[in-house]
Amino acid sequence: MLLTSIAGVFGIAPARAEVPTQNEVETALTCQCGCGLTVHSCNHVNCGSGIPLKREIGEQIGEGRSLPEILSHFENKYGEIILSAPTTRGFNLIAWAMPFVVLAIGGLTVGVVLWRWRGATDADKSPVAPVPPTSASPAENELRERMERELRERDT
């Protein structure tokens, strides 16, 4: 369910029923001429794959089919390899989910690390003299201190 939500957020699972544009379908399919580009991007002169595919896409759109229906048609006819992105079914769902799982684990790790480091500092913290209030922000004070240090270095 979580994976389906992720897919939904990023528009991976096209659920629209309306007729797609030629561009949308061409981008969702890969040219089989070996160029590695989408059908939309392949511009080989007299391409034996791209040109018939573009024509077929036009026919499918002309029949008023939705994007999922058209992609399903091409998948059934040419196999999954023609889709320019993995489907969101079965094993292929791992392709979409894994980057987010890894990011979530990484984010959690960063959060835990930051929390522990902060805890370590709190435990070791010794009383410090209060900083006198100034009109400048800490960032500006830091900048000014740095400048003064550099100017001293320059003078010596």
Binding site: F10, T27, C35, G36, E80, I82, W96, P99, V113, L151
Partner: protein, 663 residues
């Protein structure tokens, strides 16, 4: 000459074995003679690979088609410049070129460190010689660039026409320099682990090398994009091809390292993580080499399928096993201070930035290898193309640019709420204002509006930093604005050079977003004398010219470009028909301005009807990417340029210990 080249690579391989063994033994036994022998071997290795490169170049220039490599990648009509580029145009030559660059890096490292890092240098030398030796072993035992044919063809097969482009002469060398120079930080990291000298010394020693390799990886990727843009003729520059991905991944981990290493230098933290990033970056360069040469993943960029894949996989396995083994062994010595005063600090933003870089690197890696995984598990071939990479990486890219804006302004250690409000007031205003303006101007795409807002926010933080620093200098020193600005940068080269690089990255990012989202394209037939309109330009087809040389036949269309009825100039998109091999290519013609590129491609031309079929693209703001490349160069030079103190320290280090000096 082929015999000399062959002898050079065989001797180079033997020297690499001897040099690495002598260096390791010398390091372990603290035997100066053995260590010195290893150093001499490194120099000899450089000389021998240099001789081999010169030999292959000589064979190419003299068109010795009896040599298989020369016959396969050149011809008698190939122009001189591309004949030189043929050196890295084929797999064998590219491996030799790679080894040569590594050998040169090794020699430079030896010179730089002849009076310092003496405990670590044997292991540095050994690591670099083992890597170089591995590449030479492929050339000696598997794929000999000097192999002679049993007969001499009257003509060569020629360089792939797609490679006969000026970008191709500089894209591979840049990328190779970037790839190969990651070996230097890796070698020093291994040396630090081997010797247990795990202070920041190895990081300081390799800081410029890490920047150098990152810079060339950046250039290599940008040049590759420029090559794809002008050669492939589909109006784009990046297709998430496996080989493009292979070049992009080390750039991402290298970028993460350049940020996280600052935390180690400033706060003595992330020691293990930095080691991991250096190891990962180097491993990814080898993985990229494996991808392009194994044939395991199909790509338009890759070399012909070869039997080299298993060798690269084994080498990659050894690298990971040895380096990670050493890392685990030294874990107790890599304890960091690990203190953080606040989660609202620059350290925290750098950690998040690393998460994003590594997250994108993982996504790219995962998307690249998933087709192979799918075939293994399900027996079904699938494609992982641009829709996958764009959808997953776009939010991460946005987050990175946002962190780029946050990082410089937020303080080290702790940032208070009030300081955050002050620091971010102008950038947040700039970001919101940009979003509103984009919306009002009709930029209906949500991602584009967010991307422009965040980019504006990031740029505003950078400019605010320059402005504040300049004002402080003016107030304290009474300097004129330009003097204050130049001295501000000169005194803080690393910091402000980094900001300049950030500005460059925002420019590249904006160029990518604008050219992707707001691209206009049109495929149309135009009769001679007629015009079509695209994105405010009128394009008139003025005619066709044919040219022929012994090397290529060219059909060139003449297009007049008008804006508001005013003639701006002419562009000449071409179709070329190369004679050896018989292959058509597209030569696009671009009318480029700071605002957009009018990108024209000649499809076909019908003599009878006098109609030419053209693909026309209007790519908004794409030139920002290339200008960003120049800004990146500027920023990197500022970062790398040594300060007076560094130059003095370097000069002092050249004086051998115990030598007399006069005052």
């Amino acid at each position: 000459m082929s015999e000399i080249g062959r002898l050079a690579i065989v001797l180079g391989f033997i020297v690499a074995i001897w040099g690495s063994a002598a260096s390791i033994l010398g390091g372990l036994r603290r035997d100066k003679a053995l260590v010195a022998s290893g150093t001499h071997a490194a120099y000899a290795f450089s000389a021998l690979t240099g001789i081999a490169v010169l030999a292959l170049l000589q064979l190419l220039l003299t068109r010795d088609f009896n040599v298989e490599y020369v016959a396969s990648y050149s011809s008698s009509t190939l122009p001189l410049w591309y004949t030189i580029a043929a050196l890295w145009g084929g797999m064998k030559g590219s491996l030799l070129w790679w080894t040569f660059i590594l050998a040169v890096c090794n020699a430079v490292v030896q010179v730089q460190n002849r009076h310092k890092n003496r405990d670590q240098m044997p292991y540095v030398t050994a690591t670099m010689l083992i890597t170089g030796g591995f590449f030479l072993s492929l050339l000696v035992f598997v794929t000999d660039p000097f192999e002679r044919l049993p007969f001499t063809p009257s003509e060569g097969s020629d360089l792939n026409p797609l490679l006969q482009n000026y970008w191709m002469t500089i894209h591979p060398p840049s990328l190779y320099i970037g790839f190969v120079s990651t070996t230097v930080p890796f070698a020093f990291a291994l040396a630090a682990l081997a010797t247990g000298k795990l202070s920041d010394a190895w990081i300081r020693t390799t800081r410029r090398w890490a920047l150098f390799s990152w810079f060339f990886l950046s250039l290599g990727n940008l040049f590759g994009a420029a090559w794809a843009y002008v050669v492939l003729g589909w109006g784009g520059y990046w297709a998430w091809d496996p080989v493009e991905n292979a070049a992009f991944m080390p750039w991402l981990t290298s970028s993460a390292y350049l940020h996280s290493v600052m935390i180690q230098e400033k706060k003595d933290m992330l020691k293990v993580w930095n080691m991991v990033l250096v190891i990962l970056t180097f491993a990814l360069t080898i993985f990229g080499t494996f991808l392009t040469r194994s044939g395991v993943i199909s790509s338009v960029h890759s070399f012909t399928q070869s039997g080299l894949g298993p060798f690269f996989l084994i080498f990659l396995g050894i690298i990971l096993a040895v380096s990670l083994g050493l890392l685990v062994w030294r874990l107790p010595m890599l304890k960091s201070k690990n203190e953080l005063e606040s989660v609202f600090s620059r350290e925290a933003t750098f950690l998040l930035n690393n998460l994003m870089f590594v997250g994108i690197a993982f996504t790219v890696f995962w998307g690249t290898v998933f087709p192979v995984l799918s075939e293994w598990v399900r027996g079904v071939k699938i494609t992982v193309g641009p829709p996958f990479f764009n959808q997953v990486n776009a939010p991460l890219g946005l987050a990175l640019i946002f962190l780029m804006g946050v990082g410089p302004v937020i303080a080290w250690r702790r940032a208070s709420w009030s300081s955050l409000k002050r620091a971010f007031a102008i950038p947040v205003f700039a970001g919101v204002a940009t979003g509103v303006i984009a919306l009002v101007m009709g930029a209906g795409n949500f991602y584009a509006i967010v991307a422009f807002s965040i980019s504006s926010f990031a740029l505003a933080t950078m400019f605010t930093e320059f402005w504040k620093g300049m004002r402080v200098r003016q107030a304290m020193m009474g300097e004129a604005p330009w003097t204050a600005l130049s001295r501000l940068i000169g005194k803080n080269r690393r910091r402000y050079g980094g900001y300049i690089v950030h500005v460059a990255m925002v420019m590249v990012f904006v160029g990518i977003v604008a050219s992707s989202v707001f691209k206009i394209e049109k495929q149309t037939g135009i009769e001679i004398g007629q015009s079509v309109e695209i994105g405010g330009y009128d394009v008139r087809f003025d005619g066709i010219e044919d040219e022929s040389t012994e090397h290529v036949e060219i059909r060139k269309a003449k297009l007049a470009v008008f804006d508001d009825g005013e003639l701006l100039g002419f562009v000449y998109p071409e179709k070329r028909f190369y004679k050896k091999p018989e292959q058509p290519t597209t030569e696009v013609a671009i009318w480029s301005t700071i605002g957009s590129d009018l990108y024209t491609v000649l499809g076909t031309y019908d003599e009878a009807s006098k109609i030419g079929v053209f693909q026309l693209f209007l790519n908004p703001m794409i030139s920002w990417m290339w200008i960003g490349g120049f800004v990146l160069f500027l920023g990197t030079v500022v970062c790398m340029w040594p300060t007076y103190a560094e130059r003095t320290a370097e000069a002092t280090s050249r004086i051998p210990a115990g030598s007399k000096t006069t005052s």
